[in-house]
Amino acid sequence: MDSETATISADGHGGHPAPTSFWRKYIFSVDHKVIGIQFLFTSLFFALIGGALAMLIRTQLAWPFREVPGFFPTSGGVMLPEAYIAMVTMHGTIMIFFVIIPILSGAFGNFLIPLMIGARDMAFPRLNMYSYWIMVPAFLVMLAAFFVEGGTAAAGWTSYPPLSALADMVPGSGMGQTLWIVSLLLVGTSSLMGAINYITTIVLMRAKGLTTFRLPLTIWALFITAILVLLATPVLTSALILLLLDRGMGTHFFLPDGGGNPILWQHLFWFYSHPAVYIMILPAMGITSDVISTFARKPLFGYRPMVYSIMAIAGLGFIVWGHHMFVSGMSPVLGVTFMTSTMMIALPSAIKTFNWLGTLWGGNIHFTSAMLNAIAFVAMFIIGGLTGVFAAATPVDIFIHDTHWIVGHIHYVLFGGSLFGVFAGLYYWFPKMFGRMMDERLGKIHFALTFITFNLVFFPMFILGASGMPRRLADPYQYEFLAPLQGLNQFMTYSAFVLFLSQLILIGNFAWSLFRGRQAAANPWQANTLEWATTSPPPHDNFETIPVVYRGAYEYASPLIAEDYLPQHRWLDGATPTTVPQPAGD
């Protein structure tokens, strides 16, 4: 068998000899931990860019067409409407494809999966390396668009044709839009490689005793997310290719004047992009479950319903995409089917929410930075989810579609949800990744500032949306009925500046702790899952001896022992660890 694919070493757990050269150790590494950290650093870098773009957007909405020092030299420092729509396009695109998805799936997925399942590496370490390195041309192509003539794509992150299909609509419609498409094709390829690796690894490389219903929720979430990635991303790929053909080969798939239909793009795009939002939230839900259980020192409430709820959210997520298209001229009958399926997703989401609350209830709660962020996830996700229910109701959506209501909803689930989940994961697993502790006090300050300013920026968006303020509009106040909203927008902008600056605390804490943080023990949080059964950071092949698993991941406050945590791999004499694994297919 090829040595490249002979990743299953003698003990059946994968693994490969430790690299020696600098290039092999840190740059072209096949080690999932290094690759995960590579994804982490590049995602954090892009988060700063995406955040800076957000500051520009907020500036425009507070003071439309006022000079912005240092920017927009060709228009005297003024952000023209065509520049504004380029800003919103790139903000959305970067945050979705270069921050949230790579950090949850690429960084946490890569780093955690082999460790949490007791494997030495992924099933295909070389494929893993390629999945990171194909992101590099994707990054460069996307960034290059800022410097080409006409600038970046400006058709929204949703890239609807005809605007996106014709090369002479707005400045960004030329090379910028083409580069955007090419970049996303590369990102999609990376995602697919990762999905194949993750699914194979989680299904086939678990340690002995780690049966399906003993997996931690972080792994369940990453697993189901990978299935979403596997099946939804190729449809986006097909849509992007058809768009490229319309742009460059004279076809008219989406162009009405050749018999084509722009709504076809919307269907194909949203068939991917709706599952994409679950790709962005499910891993954060998994992380939240694990963090909350650990710091409440209590078993996760309702483990099986939590698992089935993740499956239900993902499964339903494939049949709701039309709720992004209620205003596209869709027949009301079809609208009703999409409305119904969308409303149904509230059910498993609610089960999860109540189960997080149930986990907290009566717990011995430790308010660490990780825990604060995880609890905030639950609260903000509730708001984001509930505002989504408004949008799910077709008659209501007719009014709030494409207003700032939707922008508020998006940011409550993606920032209030996913990003707080990312923060929780960072504070929780930083010790395992880097062998040092982050500063808890700075963590709490970061949390407090972020939480408060986040709500100040985004909650008013529901007021703006209900008042009729459209999104992607460079100067809403040209409409008399919206002019009174400028003051609120200015307040939001000031809050946004503080929100952005507050992230520097996290970056500072992160950077400082990398070099000067307190040395971390193997299991500083006294948690149960397998990644804590090895050193911080783990050795090259993860475990001295592959653990054997005797129980689920949530045995906190177990009556069997004095300690309030009972790791999955710990042998208990005289107790009844179920060493007999459950039958295959469980």
Binding site: N197, T200, V203, L245, F253, G259, R570
Partner: protein, 203 residues
């Protein structure tokens, strides 16, 4: 609360190291190839759905039996089916340790090349009649679907050739997994053509 868990503590348990085996005998590579094929199904689905919706909401569409060279392509379809047979025979013989499997692999690559060549001839014929990808939606959907399928066949031919070369170097004598994997991909490409032939040329 007691202190940190000692990392080497797991040594004392009596059970052997190993992995959970939910599907005994199933290799990670084969599992992964099937996952890849699932993603390819979705890719072609996007293109096929685009074709179907475009065609069935178009006010008019050419009569395909008049525009397309159905006999030629029917023969080409047969050639691709034969290549699937040679491929599965290659794997069958490789599993039995019979060295002739290498020639079945070679035959598969040859037949695949013939398929793409005949497709190119068909394309040239059509373009000679003035039907290009940009001519109308019929052209757009036809060339896109057959083009991406042809690209997949071409990629498959390259993969088969690589496996053939390795086979002639004695590679799969002990373990024919590599032959099985390329076979799965090849059959998949055949299945896609079975669908495309029907919906592009016959309906």
């Amino acid at each position: 609360m007691s202190g940190t868990m000692s990392v080497g503590a797991v040594r004392e348990h009596p059970l052997p190291e190993g992995t959970e085996q939910p599907f005994p005998g199933l290799s990670t590579e084969k599992f992964a190839v099937w996952l890849f094929l699932a993603s390819e199904v979705m890719f072609f689905a996007g293109l096929i759905v685009a074709y179907l919706t475009i065609r069935y909401s178009s006010p008019s569409w050419p009569v395909v039996s008049e525009v397309l060279n159905v006999p030629l392509v029917a023969a080409n379809t047969f050639i691709l089916i034969v290549s699937s047979v040679t491929m599965v025979l290659a794997f069958d013989r490789a599993e039995r340790g019979e060295a002739q499997f290498r020639y079945f692999l070679l035959a598969t690559a040859v037949l695949g090349t013939i398929f793409v060549t005949i497709q190119a001839v068909e394309w040239a014929e059509l373009m000679g009649e003035g039907i290009h990808i940009s001519t109308n939606l019929f052209g757009a959907t036809f060339y896109t679907l057959t083009g991406f399928h042809g690209a997949h066949v071409s990629g498959g031919v390259i993969w088969v050739l690589i496996v053939t070369i390795k086979a002639f170097r004695g590679r799969y004598a002990k373990n024919p997994l590599g032959v099985e994997l390329v076979g799965l991909y090849w059959h998949f490409v055949d299945v896609v053509w079975i669908i495309l032939f029907t919906i592009l040329y016959l309906i």
